[in-house]
Symmetry: C2
Subunit: 230 residues, 2 copies
């Protein structure tokens, strides 16, 4: 809300909102890198990449605190209204989801490390494709944030079903393999957990998209189009 008596501080305030958005986008880039990295680690069994994901998570955690503090300071000092208030609340929520995407990537890195030394085996699951789909969900959610576009955000909600279906199918196929070829139970269990982690990344991307819709349209659509399972 523009206040005609004090135009300069409001311009300054909106500059601060833009800066905050830039910081959130940088945080999103870190989360995306973490996923790309851990998928490469899975494909190549590269422990160096796993370590990189762990280090990356520390950066995401530090950044989460700073972004939260900056959003809190703006709420406290500027007492924003309407769309600006919704933006700041969305920043706080999106920030939390990005940090949790980082955590999921660490969980995947843990499973990749646990798989090191185990016999390589072809499993009935296409983790790279599932991971790529989850990655597209993050990127699309962040694009909707960048462009303040609720239509782009809505497309993320539709993608979530695809990742959920892949996860259900992987769970069934990998359970079957565990029973038929128990010597590969560890590899199959690691894959089951990675699929669940990827599904969670899809859920967090969905949460981000919902927050963008809340910010742009002022509508809370949670639990209507999809249920974000944790």
């Amino acid at each position: 809300m523009q206040n005609k008596n004090t135009p300069m501080p409001r311009i300054h305030f909106h500059q601060q909102l833009d800066d905050l958005k830039d910081r959130l986008l940088a945080q999103a880039a870190l989360a995306q890198q973490a996923l790309d990295c851990v998928l490469d680690a899975y494909t190549g069994g590269d422990l160096g990449l796993c370590q990189h994901v762990m280090d990356n998570e520390q950066a995401i955690n530090s950044s989460e605190r700073l972004i939260d503090q900056a959003a809190y300071d703006l709420l406290a000092m500027e007492q924003p209204m309407a769309v600006d208030l919704r933006f700041l609340l969305s920043v706080i929520k999106i920030n939390s989801d990005l940090e949790r995407i980082g955590d999921q990537c660490v969980n995947i890195a843990d499973r990749v490390r646990a798989s090191t030394g185990l016999e390589k085996v072809t499993l009935p699951v296409d983790i790279p494709t599932m991971g790529t789909t989850a990655g597209v969900m993050i990127r699309t959610a962040i694009q909707s944030l960048l462009e303040a576009d609720a239509f782009i955000a809505e497309s993320v909600l539709e993608m979530d079903d695809r990742v959920d279906d892949m996860n259900h199918k992987a769970h069934a196929d990998l359970t079957k393999l565990m029973m038929e070829q128990p010597e590969y139970a560890e590899q199959a269990l690691n894959a089951v957990i990675i699929c669940r982690n990827l599904e969670r990344i899809g859920d967090h991307s969905t949460n981000i998209a919902e927050d963008v819709i809340f910010w742009v349209r002022g509508a809370d659509i949670r639990h209507r189009l999809s249920v974000a399972m944790d």
Copy 2:
């Protein structure tokens, strides 16, 4: 912050904050019930209880939206400062964690339903004890909210390590069982997932405790004492 020129509206505002806290406590009671219920369902294999957890989740989801909206309205209309602003931001975050505890209970109910019809087998994991510990974490976190007591909240953070350790041990022991007795792979896999769900409930309880500390003391302690994995 009391405004001497307008005492009545501020009194009304603090009454609204108290009402919001009561609604959050009622939401917490639903989340606790969901966990109790799903643990009973696990022990007794009771599908009726599983259905109750599903129904309960709908109530939690509806309530989450209403609490979020009420917190947003108070932020927009009252433009609170300092401890009141921190309280409202904490309500929004705690509300989200309670809803996710409800989701985790639904995930556990799914695994209990998936176990129906499978041969009953003694597994090397004490899920009731792990579940009880997670339940104590929720209750303690909510007690710290009720009493605005950061010391009680800190005790939740210490309990989290115990649940994490139980989960790691269960993962190792159940993997071993899958390899040695593949005929019980499904039961063991369901138990692995339930343990991960319980660990997540511990993490959400930790998040709630951290939010209480932020509210009461104004300190953001995330990622210092423990890392909340998602």
